[in-house]
Symmetry: C2
DNA sequence: GAATTATCGTGCGTGTACGCACGTTATTTT
DNA sequence: AAAATAACGTGCGTACACGCACGATAATTC
């Protein structure tokens, strides 16, 4: 049989892509991209982060985050200051206008969050979040010294 | 309480990003990107697709798919021919080498699929796929060119 | 105190995601 | 048949994702 295991990656991709597209439309009307919203949301939950810490939480890549911050800084939505103790790092925070904008964006995004779960029962939502979290943790686990090998030794098919 | 509803988008994003990163590493060792693998996998399940149909199934965007096809065609992994009946369309199919490459990629990706579900029960995997599918369908709903307001009185969440 | 190592940010290159406009060809309408 | 409309592919522009290499600074080691 075609195990559901094989379908999981596609199902995950499809769901995320659908969310991303929807978000792009809604947030685009507000002048920001879907990923910029994620960045602002992450900042709103923990100000004065370094760029690296910000990237770690999104999750995203430091160099990607930097490019986004340049754009957001130009619009005055975020502020970047030198770190108080580490002079090579920079702290990032929402500007007052950024905070205002984020509240506006959160409201604008509410219909999306509502629509995601409109066909699900409340307990199903919780189950989904739990399962997604498990999968993410499992994938993010270090697998260098093959701690949890699956079936066969991952034959390294190097170039 | 912090509604799980608010956490669902982030959980979905985190899981997908983790999958994407992992895939990028594994498939990158094989000389293709994670998304190129998705394209090849989609082709392997239905040859002689038009570019648009291919994009619809991935799912992705037609112009994005085109750019990917240009690269894959240069490597000889896919073939593009004129459509037998529709002269504005092009059919896309795996080349013999593309088929071989895909089998190789599928094997290389097996550890990822295994790792995704290694912390889940079999029935949990099925549940997850079902819930993700529901969410995706829900998000993709009511976006068609027709079937506007005449069908259902879905409460329009005002801005 | 000096050298090594690790970390932060930056800049660059490639691939992906998508909207939009354009030309071409099919399909439908008049 | 002629005209309007729709669908397919292409090209362009912007933003993301990420790896990698670089310079600068911090932390560690000798």
């Amino acid at each position: 049989m075609t195990s559901t295991r094989s379908e999981l990656p596609l199902a995950l991709r499809s769901a995320y892509m659908a969310l991303h597209r929807r978000s792009e439309v809604v947030f685009g009307e507000q002048g920001v991209t879907a990923d910029q919203f994620v960045l602002l949301a992450t900042l709103s939950r923990g100000q004065a982060l370094t760029q690296r810490e910000l990237a770690r939480r999104m999750p995203s890549d430091p160099s990607t985050v930097r490019a986004m911050l340049v754009l957001l800084e130009q619009r005055g939505l975020v502020q970047r200051d030198v770190h108080p103790t580490d002079s090579r790092a920079r702290t990032v925070a929402l500007s007052p206008e950024g905070k205002r904008k984020f509240r506006q964006l959160w409201t604008a995004g509410d219909p999306i969050r509502a629509q995601m779960v409109e066909t699900l029962e409340p307990d199903e939502v919780e189950t989904l979040v739990n399962l997604l979290t498990k999968v993410a943790q499992s994938l993010n686990l270090e697998r260098g010294p093959n701690g949890g090998e699956s079936s066969e030794p991952t034959e390294k098919v190097a170039t």
